[in-house]
């Protein structure tokens, strides 16, 4: 099947001093899909997005957005794009309505459509009754919704979402995921960076896993899980739990990797079932009880852990809120 490629990235590199933030990135995003860029904090996700939206120049390589080279035709490339940065950075002194009208002005929306489009978006994002409220007085969830609305004011063909649910409560994050699904239904191509594996699994048609500036794998979530389907996953909930228990499990036969998920330990390997007795014996010898034990079908998280070696707990840790951009 032929796909129109809305984002094409070839050999993209960016270095900050001694740190190679992004190294030879190659990927493309098809029209109408939700493409997830999944990786731990500091993997190079935000640097990539900043190069794609024209905030940073790559050291080498090229990127095309909707057919336009981001370096040679930055203004045309930006016209096709809506960007939702990690921080909700609209203008605190302006009302919700004025913020959206200002964005419409900046993105060249015809004057007669400014107010209509702004009110339409406020209605879609359940903010119509707060249209005259100043952005600085909004809750974090409302700010996030208005920031997404602002990115859509000019009907972009591609939407970049940088860690969209970071810092939101459970309900806010769920609502936002619903919004992203609706955008896909409307044909918007979505490029989503996240360090929440479940979020990528729920939303994305395809996922690229990036670690230390390099893409390790690109596939559908099911495709990635397929790659580790031969892997068995055993999960044990010990009591009392301690992360130090991982040391106790070193050298257990048939276990390729162990990770901690909340207060449970996961064991990965092709024949982990052979080692159950030995694992239980080691715990019992230390007087540790077992609250639950189960085998699992590999999830995207398991695939991620197996393929990258990155600890899932480290992935879940929110990064500190950004306090400044330029300067």
């Amino acid at each position: 099947m032929e796909y129109r490629e809305m984002i094409q990235v070839k050999g993209l590199c960016k270095r900050f001093g001694e740190i190679q933030a992004v190294d030879q990135l190659e990927f493309s995003v098809r029209e109408g899909e939700i493409f997830g860029f999944l990786g731990p904090n500091g993997a190079g996700k935000t640097t990539t997005i900043r190069m794609l939206v024209g905030l940073l120049s790559p050291d080498s390589g090229s990127a095309r957005i909707d057919g336009h080279d981001v370096l040679r035709e930055p203004v045309r490339a930006k016209q096709s794009v809506g960007v939702v940065p990690e921080s909700s950075n609209l203008y605190g002194e302006l009302s919700a309505l004025d913020n959206l009208i200002y964005m419409a002005q900046l993105y060249g929306v015809p004057k007669k459509e400014w107010k209509q489009r702004a009110e339409e978006l406020l209605k879609d994002f359940n903010l119509l009754d707060r249209r005259e409220g100043k952005f600085q007085g909004f809750s974090r969830g409302m700010k996030r919704r208005l920031t997404i609305a602002a990115a859509l004011v000019h009907h972009p063909r591609i939407l970049f979402l940088d860690e969209p649910t970071t810092g939101l409560d459970v309900m806010g994050a769920r609502g936002l995921r619903g919004v992203i699904k609706k955008l896909k239904e409307k044909g918007v191509t979505v490029f989503l960076t996240t360090h929440y594996i479940q979020e990528a699994e729920e939303l994305c048609d395809r996922v690229a896993i990036i670690v230390k500036g390099k893409i390790r794998f690109t596939d559908t979530p099911d495709g990635l899980k397929e790659k580790v389907k031969e892997t068995e996953v055993l999960e044990i909930q010990p009591h009392p739990f301690s992360p130090n228990l991982l040391q106790l499990m070193e050298g257990v036969p048939d276990v390729e990797k162990t990770t901690v998920v909340e207060d449970r330990i996961r064991f990965y390997g092709a024949s982990v079932h052979n080692s159950v007795c030995q694992i239980l014996n080691r715990l019992e010898a230390k007087g540790i009880k077992i609250l639950s034990i189960r085998t699992m079908v590999p999830t995207l998280e398991d695939a991620f852990v197996k393929m990258t070696g990155v600890d899932a707990e480290a992935m879940r840790a929110d990064k500190p809120m950004k306090m400044g951009g330029m300067g």
Binding site: L55, V75, P85, Y91, Y107, M326
Partner: protein, 243 residues
């Protein structure tokens, strides 16, 4: 044309969002008024000769304050990135910021002139020349303010750095005494600062006398300042955005 329109929207938003910030009012308007009052009380007859310098000071303080607050504040809250992500050329963004700053300074300058005209029964010798001098001065000082604010992170840092440049200008640029009456080394510094040409042009268009350079030369030099500062601001802005 589209670029000018978007620059206008940027300027209009800045005026709407930041017009009543206390530092703008205090540094933009209060300080020159305090000077006017102080010098009037000391020597009521000499206020006419001082008025061009005081108008120049109003322009300097109001425009640089506006630029310092708007840009450093928007940098701090990441809002400036929003402009950089929009389909607008960097030059348009810089020009838009300068336009907002210049419009605010122009308004403050006109207001100060009206107060001077009304209180001290003065009138403009050549109104059109006066307005041109006002406008170019506002843009030149606006670019100075943009340059200062691009290099700092916090609003208070911008205000401090602005004062580092502004306060010496009060004494070096012919506001209170002629540049030519100063020691030669200070004259060199004075002639390197845009306020000197602004005050000289304002003096000639307001009073019709007392110019050091011909009016047209002051205007040309102010125009050159605008162009050079615009280019430098664009280069530094682009460089800082990449860091």
């Amino acid at each position: 044309m589209e670029g000018f329109k978007r620059a206008y929207y940027i300027a209009r938003k800045d005026l709407k969002a930041y017009y009543f910030k206390p530092p703008l009012v205090s540094w933009g308007l209060m300080l020159p008024f305090v000077f006017i009052l102080a010098f009037y009380l000391r020597n009521p007859q000499g206020i006419a000769d001082l008025s061009p310098g005081l108008v120049g000071l109003t322009l300097l303080f109001s425009t640089t304050s506006m630029a310092a607050i708007v840009i450093s504040f928007e940098k701090r809250i990441d809002a400036l990135e929003r402009l950089l992500m929009a389909p607008i050329h960097l030059r348009t963004i810089i020009f838009g910021k300068a336009l907002g700053t210049a419009a605010f300074g122009f308004g403050m300058g006109l207001f100060t002139l009206l107060v001077v005209f009304f209180l001290f029964n003065l009138h403009a010798y050549h109104l059109f020349s006066l307005l041109i001098a006002l406008l170019l001065s506002c843009f030149a000082f606006g670019f100075v303010g943009i340059l200062i604010s691009v290099g700092v992170r916090e609003v208070f840092e911008a205000m401090t750095l602005s004062n580092f440049f502004r306060l010496p200008m009060i004494f070096l640029c012919g506001v209170f005494f002629p540049v030519t009456a100063m020691p030669w080394i200070l004259q060199v510094v004075g002639f390197a600062l845009p306020l000197t040409y602004s005050v000289d042009a304002l003096r000639q268009s307001l009073l019709g006398r007392g110019g050091i350079l011909p009016y047209w030369l002051d205007i040309l030099i102010l125009l050159a300042y605008c162009m050079v500062l615009f280019e430098i601001a664009t280069v530094i802005f682009r460089k800082r955005a990449q860091e």
